[in-house]
Structures are given as structure tokens and as C-alpha cells.
Amino acid sequence: MIQFHNVFKRYPGGHEALADVSLRLGIGQMAFLTGHSGAGKSTLLKLVSLIERPTRGQVLLDGVNIGNLRRRRIPYMRRKVGVIFQDHRLLYDRTVFDNVALPLIIAGYRHQEIGKRVRASLDKVGLLNKERVYPITLSGGEQQRIGIARAVVNKPPLLLADEPTGNLDPELSREIMGLFESFNQVGVSVLIATHDLERIADMPYGVFNLKDSRLLSNTVPALEENDHVA
């Protein structure tokens, strides 16, 4: 699903946020991305979600080299990636329903279809009863779950999350992690950047560990499959 081949990322200021990173996340795999603050976790996720472009090396998403993707193609590529932000990034002047419906409206789904999918998605995160309210009236954990519902509503093959449990209490973050696992169980690839080493220690998923912009260790099992260069 994701492949990095000797990827470097240097920001305009001159700071090298990623250096010579190569890794692979297979289709349907779930993995964590760890590292100290400033190690380059968010940068790596931004490369995959087409927010930043690599300075050198290749980033492949679903077999497509996204380093030199034409501008017009970017939106369609982004629809393959559901992104969950720590700060939720919801639209606060729209209802929960409208927030979750946005990816479907963008993709041009029909009205009835949108209603069905939004409700299914809200149901999955356990907030079906909140569809008519505005996000501002919800707790942090609930807003995070709305963000997740929005990320999965158009069934993207890949989910990215940047410290999705950063602000949540242990109870809630366990719940959120459970959600990601349930998506992974139906075949979605999942990559989660996190500080929370304790929580992931006893979970059966591989870890990419970054240190000072480099990939220090990689415990993600290599899959035997045709996830090759296009």
C-alpha cells in the first residue's frame, strides 16, 4: 500500500526531517510509527497524504509514484487516504452529518447513498444519535470519532492517523485504537503515528521507529504480495 524508497525530505528552512527512509506497508496491514518529538513522524505521514513532496527518493501509494503526480491528479489520490488529525479539523459551522458527508459530496455520490453511508459510518463510531448536532457541542473524544467517521465514510483503502489519542484519557484511547483495529479487520491498511509506547507494546502490530530523521528499526512483517512498483 505504501512504499518508501530512500526518501529524503528537506524543508525550505534547510532542516532535514527525513533522511534515507525506506519502508513498506502492505495492503491490509496495520502498523505504528514511533519516535521522539521532531523525529519526522508527521512529515512521513504528510508525504503519504500528499501534503508534502519528497525532496529525493520515491513514495508509492497504491503502486503510484506520488512524488511527481500532476496537480490535477492529487485530489483523486487523496481520496484513497483517510486522514485523522489530532486536532480533528472539523467544520464547526456544519452539523456532524454534514461533516461526515463531505467526502461523499466531493466524490459525487447520490443523495440517498450519502445518507446511508454517513449513518453507517456514524453508527460504527457509536455516534449515530449525534448526527444533527454541531461538533462544538461534543467532547474531544467524540470529535475525534467524528473525524474518524469522516475519514472512513468513503471506504478508503488506507487510514493514516497522527497521534489520534494524544489528548484522550486511557479509556477513550483504548476505544479509539479498537476502532482502528476493527477497520483493519475488514481489510483497510492502517498507519498510526503515536507517542504512546505503552499502549502499543502489547498490541500485535509492527512498528516503524524513527530517530533523528532516520528509520532506526522496523518490525513490520514483509508481506508476500504483488504490491510492486507501477
Binding site: M1, I27, G28, S49, I51, D62, R72, P75, Y76, M77, R78, R79, K80, V83, R89, L90, L91, L102, P103, I105, I106, A107, G108, Y109, R110, H111, E113, R150, A151, N154, K155, P156, P157, F183, V186, G187, V188, S189
Partner: protein, 326 residues
């Protein structure tokens, strides 16, 4: 890569809605953002009303000027009598020959009527007008020719047509001097030509002003909705999708601005009509002020809508590119 099996049937890529329903959804979406953008205008009534008023006033000015010119034209076309041609015969032409000439000219298709001053009448008129009586009396022979006063038909009263008629009359052997009596008709038309060009200049400048006003309003709109734009881009909204509501906003600004302009012009015409009618009664002309006809109204609304759309297009093109997710 697929979360569930059923999606595999639709195609090897992500499941998209089928083409026909996608098209339908496309139009429904267009319609919805058109209406939604109207709703947005309604949500900020005061600032939007200001924008629309400014556009309306900017458009009302050239429209009003155009209407004034249109009225001036239609009044002046009633003045076919004003374009009279004087034909002075040669001194060798007798009254009788002049009369025959008048009868001949009267048959020209360009001519409405011909009247004649005999040589004696010419002398009398000249004497009365200029007070040269004594000097004229001192002369033995009458130095003044017979004069034909020729009124072209309405179709030939325009300066250009009258000029052609004059050339034709000058070729007559009996004619000495042929001239358009009232040069000022020509001047009036020249002035109206200048007025028309001036209106065009004013209209162009104000059109640019409308572009800038709409562009600026849309720019503020875009900045106010920065978060929304960035989030929409992040989850895969195309540029066209993001642009659309702003373009529709511009379209509404233009259309409503045009309607306000119509309203302003309409009020002004209604207000002036009474005075114009009493004035024209004094001239016994029964002229009533013309208002904008349907075609002009259509052109104005089309133009204002286009300006609104173009203004937002310029603004959107420049400002949306700068907003990328981070």
C-alpha cells in the same frame, strides 16, 4: 486493498458511483451549490447588501447615461424638419425657371417638400432680416437669386444622407450655392457621437470597478472560509469543486447588482417623466420619456452577471491556489 468483497464488482479501483448517477449527482450538486451560495449571501445580509448596492450604483450610472442618449436620439429623429436645404439659383435663372426647377425636384424620392422664394421675396426677406433696405434700394438690379427651400424626407434627414442629396443638387446647372441650413443638426449628431463614446469609456471604467468590488468581496469570502477550503482539499476536493460556490456567489452579486441598477434607473425615469411631459407639452410635441426596452434590460442583466462571474473568477484563481493543507 478492499475493505469488503462487494466493492470488487464495481471496478478494480475504488468504488465510485456509476457514471449516469454521477452525472445526475453532478447537476444536482451544481444546483445545490447555486442555491447554497444564495443561502450564504442571505446569511451575511449587510455586507452583501453593501456589495450589491455598490455594483448596482456603478451599473446604474452608465445605464442612465445610455438611456438619456437614447432619448436624445429619438427626440432628434423627430426633427426631420430641422434639416432643411437651401438652394440658391444662379442669377441668370428667372423666377419661372426656378419654379420649373422646384417642380422637378419635388419629384425626387428623397424630398418631402419644396417651397420657393422668388427673387423679389428674397430681396424682401433680406431687407427685413438684415436691415440693408437702403443699400438694396440703391441698387438698380435685384442682386438676390430665387431660393428653393428643400425639406428631405425623414429617411434622408440624417446628416450623411442629406449630404448626398446636397451633392446631387449641386450638379444641377441652375444651382449656384446649395447648403444645409442648419449646420447644428450635424453638430448635434457629432456631439451625440462624442457622448456615446464617453458613455462607453465611463461604462468600461465602472465595469472594471465592478470586477474589483466583486473580486475583493470574494477574496474576503475565501479568507473567511480558509479552514473549510483546506479541509476540503485535504479530503480530496478538486479545485473545480472548491471554486464552484465562490463563482456562484459572484454570479449572484452580479445579477442582484444588475437588478438594483434597473431599479435605480426605473425610479429615476419615473421621477423625470412628469417634468419631461409638461416640457414637451410646451413644445406641443407630446414626447414621453422612453424607458429601457426588454432587450436593453436583458443585455444589462447578462452583462452584470458576467461581470460578477468574471470578478470572482479572477479572485478565486489567485487566492485558492495559495491555500494548501499543511
Amino acid at each position: 486493498m478492499s475493505p469488503d468483497k462487494s466493492r470488487k464488482r464495481g471496478g478494480q479501483r475504488m468504488d465510485r458511483p456509476p457514471a449516469h448517477s454521477r452525472f445526475k449527482a453532478y447537476f444536482v450538486h451544481h444546483l445545490r451549490s447555486l442555491v447554497a451560495s444564495l443561502g450564504l449571501l442571505y446569511r451575511h445580509p449587510l455586507s452583501n447588501l453593501m456589495t450589491i448596492l455598490v455594483i448596482g450604483i456603478a451599473l446604474a450610472l452608465p445605464t442612465g447615461l445610455y438611456l438619456a442618449l437614447d432619448n436624445a436620439r429619438s427626440i432628434s429623429s423627430n426633427w426631420d424638419g430641422a434639416a432643411q436645404i437651401s438652394l440658391f439659383t444662379k442669377l441668370t435663372v428667372s423666377n419661372k425657371q426656378a419654379q420649373q426647377l422646384a417642380d422637378k425636384i419635388r419629384l425626387y424620392p428623397e424630398i418631402d417638400q419644396v417651397s420657393m422664394l422668388t427673387r423679389e421675396q428674397s430681396r424682401q426677406e433680406f431687407r427685413d432680416l438684415a436691415g440693408y433696405g437702403d443699400a438694396l434700394d440703391a441698387l438698380e438690379k435685384n442682386p438676390l437669386p430665387a431660393v428653393l427651400i428643400i425639406t428631405p424626407s425623414a429617411a434622408h434627414a440624417h446628416p450623411d444622407a442629406a449630404q448626398r442629396l446636397i451633392e446631387k443638387l449641386r450638379k444641377l446647372p441652375q444651382a449656384d450655392i446649395v447648403q444645409l441650413d442648419l449646420e447644428w443638426v450635424k453638430r448635434l449628431f457629432a456631439i451625440m457621437d462624442i457622448a456615446q463614446r464617453s458613455i462607453l469609456v465611463v461604462a468600461s471604467l465602472l465595469a472594471i470597478a465592478v470586477l474589483l468590488v466583486v473580486g475583493n468581496t470574494i477574496r474576503l469570502d475565501i479568507q473567511n472560509r480558509r479552514d473549510e477550503i483546506i479541509i476540503t482539499k485535504q479530503i480530496g476536493g478538486t479545485d473545480a469543486f472548491i471554486r464552484r460556490p465562490f463563482l456562484y456567489n459572484g454570479l449572484w452579486y452580479g445579477l442582484f447588482g444588475g437588478l438594483i441598477a434597473l431599479l435605480l434607473v426605473g425610479i429615476s425615469v419615473a421621477w423625470l417623466r412628469g417634468s419631461v411631459e409638461s416640457l414637451s407639452l410646451l413644445y406641443q410635441s407630446g414626447y414621453t420619456l422612453r424607458s429601457l426596452d426588454l432587450r436593453s434590460i436583458g443585455v444589462l442583466l447578462l452583462l452584470s452577471t458576467t461581470l460578477g462571474l468574471a470578478g470572482s473568477w479572477l479572485s478565486v484563481g489567485r487566492h485558492l491556489k495559495q491555500m494548501e493543507p499543511q
